[in-house]
Amino acid sequence: MTTGLKGLVVAAAVALGALAAVGCLIEALFEAQGFGRPRDTDPRPGYLALLALGFVASVTVPAALWRALLPGSAPAWPLAFGAAVVGVLMILGISIA
């Protein structure tokens, strides 16, 4: 696999990971604050745990892929992932203010 192709695979994984991570965070926020949750019930711990697992996987899988395919640039990972998350939020048109 060429370095360019590895870069493409890693970029795709980071983008998808950021999308999934944001998705898990939004779902967890909805669940915690009752938006769309069954009325007059407490947040479901099992569902929140599943979302937490999804969030961790969304971060670690692309990170592992990056480390495996582009080991030399691994330190740039947090920066790239953070940028991807911000990018996803902006694509979704969500105001952070």
């Binding site: 999308l19 944001v22 998705g23 939004i26 779902e27 926020l29 909805f30 604050q33 009752g34 938006f35 769309g36 009325r39 007059d40 902006m90 694509i91 979704l92 048109g93 969500i94 105001s95 952070i96 203010a97």
Partner: protein
């Protein structure tokens, strides 16, 4: 006027308890409290009380008390009120079992030679900087001297003075130049009080006293800063029989014209001074901090999240005569009007139970949004797979069907879901409990702009996670909901307040300040403080306009005629008359002479009447001139002003049906909506939401042609009919190439072989993942079998495409065709259409 069942029950309970307990003290009555406690019990805002002192009070007995027992329309604000007597305050609520109740406390003269058992309370005030008027002090003077000592020297009295107490007695005379709570003859309120302040036995119902004034209020100009208020009550001529005054809801405010709007003197108080704020989170002010204590899990289970800046407190501040009883609750649904929230764990009664008929002067509420599942649907439109591009929620049956069912149920068109209470039934129950109130049902403001907002830096057209086409769908949902609310509210004589117009420009991603909280806020998709203020202003305006109904003066035993014309093809005619009290009877006569009366309303006709209103709902009424006859069955000699509300309900508008046809015009894609139709009218607009990877546009027109270029991924057509209802149709597209080896795609309709067609893969679509069995080509719907399907990179872009060989005879090709389209399902289940230009040979 009748008393509400709950109030009567409260009075009975109170009386029974007091009769059963000979002790002078009950849990609800505190006798001889410190002056400061007594003062704070009677003011609307205890913060204005800087101090208090008994200037005079008999040394013996229990002449004063703070009470929370509902009695004689008290309390009128808050939970407690002050009781000042010339004898024994504990007798006040014991029922009228004696014609000579009282206690001689041995209190001697204080201000002359004929006053006894005198109580003078001084309240030191710190009047707010904005106030220019003591706008009201509710009181009722009650006496055992009535009626046997009326016109004699035994002239017990109540006096209210500001800053200086100067009243004196001499024989049967009372001089009180500083008194601002005087009767129409400028004399203190006594058993001889004149005009509207005169005593009657009925006014003392439930008390020990033989007579009482009506519920009165008095005002006087005042300046900001420190002042002293003196309240005095005394026996005159003897010390035997008791008199009392109940005082509450002392309040300050600002009036436009002190001379005209803050005149001293006692006048009738509006007894219906409670403003009951009910409803759901839009009414509770969810998201707008600060909340009222005890409503946000701050030490209690209650999580209603009632904001001090919700529209109800704001309306209360604008209508100063009303005191708010606020019970809107986040997450409330229609059945919460009948059942305690969370099984009672939140301390919330069924919302209808807060409507005390005798006390309620105004009720406002918004309800139904949670029954329709707005929160769930918004979450559906944002989370999960809807995060992905080009996946919309308005065409997802799992999202749309529950809403459609809920709307139909709220509108009374279906029997399920049973847990939703139809608006018509709910509003009738509200009316039955609020005979003296103005009733306001508030609609919902739209979250988004109709044309869709975009907060993204890349094409895609999303605002707060919701795509443009879905934003439009949500706007239409809110509009449809408001239509249902409006129809039911007007049918039942409620004021309907639609906040939509005030929110134009203030939607999420709107052009001006946003009046909704965004997705990441805890108040998401709910109005901000500015939005709540806008709703409050809309309510005030709505109440003002509601007074424009025809009003007729109906005299005793007189009949007044009101005529109106009913249009043809109505499904319902609703006629409601309302009057202040007593009784007016309504008879309706149809154009053919058929009569509808209280005694015989007729089969299939809904009829109800209460102490202030009568209502008929006649299905499928005759067209033409109707006569409403209003008979003064029990009205004062001066007559009773009666309003007439006529609502003519037309057949419900039927939803239009949108249809999309795609075709090729050379290398351009044509979007044709001419196949759309409206079963009961005409289609007035066609809006196209076209989304592709690098562009996102909204186009108008029955037929529109896209510029040459890559096909869009998603096309949504929104058709709107002449009644304002909309229908949404969405198709996805996929790039297709007929005869990939050819540029002008010549096809022979009469050929017997196969026609090669390629579905092309792109960055957003793996065409090889499409299930070929779902594909249909051309007007004949030709299908393709496995031997004629394979993967191949036909356009050399490095991606494998789906190559198909369709049997030519089944395609339905005809001479002159210029476009050939294919339909099918994408891998994620969405339907798609693909087209390419052809040339028949």
């Amino acid at each position: 006027m009748g008393r509400g069942p709950l109030r009567i029950a409260a009075l009975l309970v109170t009386s029974a308890a007091l009769l059963a307990l000979p002790s002078a003290t009950t849990a609800a009555l505190t006798t001889n409290p410190p002056a400061l406690t007594l003062a704070r019990a009677m003011v609307a805002d205890p913060a204005v009380v800087a101090g208090a002192e008994y200037v005079a009070r008999p040394a013996a007995g229990t002449p004063v008390a703070v009470s929370s027992d509902p009695l004689a329309s008290f309390p009128t604000g808050g939970d407690e009120y002050a009781v000042l007597t010339t004898g024994n305050a504990t007798l006040a609520g014991t029922g009228n079992t004696s014609g000579s109740s009282g206690a001689n406390l041995g209190g001697g003269n204080v201000r002359g030679n004929s006053d006894y058992d005198v109580v003078i309370l001084r309240i030191d005030l710190d009047v707010p900087a904005t106030a220019n008027c003591l706008v009201g002090m509710d009181f009722r003077f009650l006496s055992e001297e009535y009626p046997e000592w009326v016109g004699t020297a035994f002239n017990d009295a109540f006096v209210a003075e500001l800053d200086e107490s100067t009243w004196t007695t001499s024989g049967s005379t009372i001089t009180a130049p500083n008194n601002f709570a005087f009767d129409p003859s400028a004399r203190p309120i006594t058993i001889n009080a004149a005009g509207v302040t005169s005593m009657t036995a009925e006014n003392a119902a439930g008390t020990t006293y033989d007579g009482a004034t009506p519920l009165l209020t008095a005002a006087t100009p005042i300046t900001p800063g420190p002042h002293s208020l003196y309240l005095s009550i005394f026996d005159q001529g003897d010390q035997v029989y008791d008199s009392a005054v109940f005082v509450d809801n002392l309040r300050f405010g600002r009036v436009a014209d002190v001379t005209d709007d803050c005149k001293p003197g006692a006048e009738l108080a509006d007894e219906h001074t409670t403003y009951v704020g009910l409803g759901d989170s839009y009414a509770s002010g969810f998201g707008v901090h600060p909340y009222f204590p005890g409503t946000s899990k701050d030490g209690t289970e209650n999580d209603c999240q009632r904001s001090t800046l919700a529209f109800a407190p704001l309306v209360e501040s604008l209508i100063t005569r009303l005191a708010l009883d606020f019970h809107a609750c986040a997450g409330a649904v229609t059945r919460d009007f009948y059942e305690a929230r969370a099984g009672g764990a939140w301390g919330e009664e069924p919302q209808l139970d807060y409507l005390i008929p005798e006390e309620t002067g105004l009720v406002t509420f918004s309800i139904g949004g949670n029954d329709a599942g707005f929160a769930d649907r918004l979450a559906d439109c944002i989370g999960g797979f809807k995060l992905l591009p080009f996946v919309t929620c308005h065409d997802d049956d799992d999202v749309t069907e529950p809403i459609a069912e809920a709307f139909a149920r709220l509108d009374g068109l279906r029997a399920t879901p049973a847990e939703i209470v139809p608006y018509d039934a709910l509003l009738k129950d509200v009316r039955a409990r609020t005979p003296f109130a103005a009733r306001v049902q508030v609609g919902y403001p739209p979250f988004f702009r109709s044309e869709g907002g975009d907060r993204t830096f890349l094409p895609g057209g999303r605002c707060e996670g919701v795509k443009k086409a879905d934003q439009r769908w949500l706007v239409e949902l809110v509009a449809e909901m408001n239509g249902i609310i409006s129809r039911n509210a007007l049918r039942n004589g409620f004021v309907f307040v639609d906040p939509t117009s005030r929110f134009i420009g203030h939607e999420l991603c709107g052009e001006d300040d946003e009046w909704f909280y965004g997705l990441l806020s805890s108040g998401r998709y709910h109005p901000t403080g500015a939005g709540q203020a806008a709703i409050a202003a809309a309510i005030i305006d709505g109440l003002a306009v509601s007074g424009d109904l025809p009003t007729l003066l109906v005299g005793p035993d007189k009949t007044v005629i009101y005529k109106f014309t009913a249009a043809g093809d109505l499904v319902l005619l609703s006629v409601i008359i309302e009057w202040p009290g007593s009784d007016v009877e309504l008879t309706l006569t149809s154009p053919s002479g058929k009569t509808y009366t209280r005694a015989a309303p007729g089969a299939g006709v809904y009829h109800a009447n209460g102490p202030t209103w009568e209502q008929f709902q006649i299905p499928h009424p005759e067209a033409g001139e109707w006569t409403a006859s209003l008979y003064g069955a029990d009205v004062p000699a001066a007559g009773e002003e009666t309003t007439v509300h006529v609502f003519q309900e037309e057949a419900r508008n039927q939803r239009p049906v949108g249809a999309i046809e795609l075709r090729r015009d050379g290398d351009r894609l044509v979007l044709d909506g001419s196949g759309s139709h409206d079963p009961d009218g005409t289609i007035t607009s066609w809006d196209w939401y076209v989304s592709s990877a690098d562009d996102d546009v909204v186009l108008q027109g029955e037929t529109v042609t896209l510029p040459a270029g890559p096909d869009p991924h998603s096309i949504t057509l929104v058709v709107t009919d002449d009644g304002g209802l909309t229908d949404f149709v969405t198709v996805s597209t996929a790039p297709m190439d007929v005869k990939p080896e050819s540029t002008d795609n010549p096809v022979n309709p009469k050929a017997a072989g196969v026609l090669p067609v390629a579905l092309l893969s792109s960055a957003a679509l793996d065409a090889t993942a499409i299930d070929a069995s779902t594909l249909r080509l051309g007007p004949g719907g030709a299908q393709v079998g496995p031997p004629h399907v394979h993967s191949e990179d036909v356009n050399g872009d490095g991606r494998a495409d789906l190559m198909l060989q369709f049997p030519n005879p089944g395609i339905g090709l005809e001479g002159g065709m210029t476009s050939l389209c294919m339909s099918g399902e994408l891998p994620d289940g969405r339907s798609f259409t693909a087209c390419d230009a052809i040339r028949t040979v």
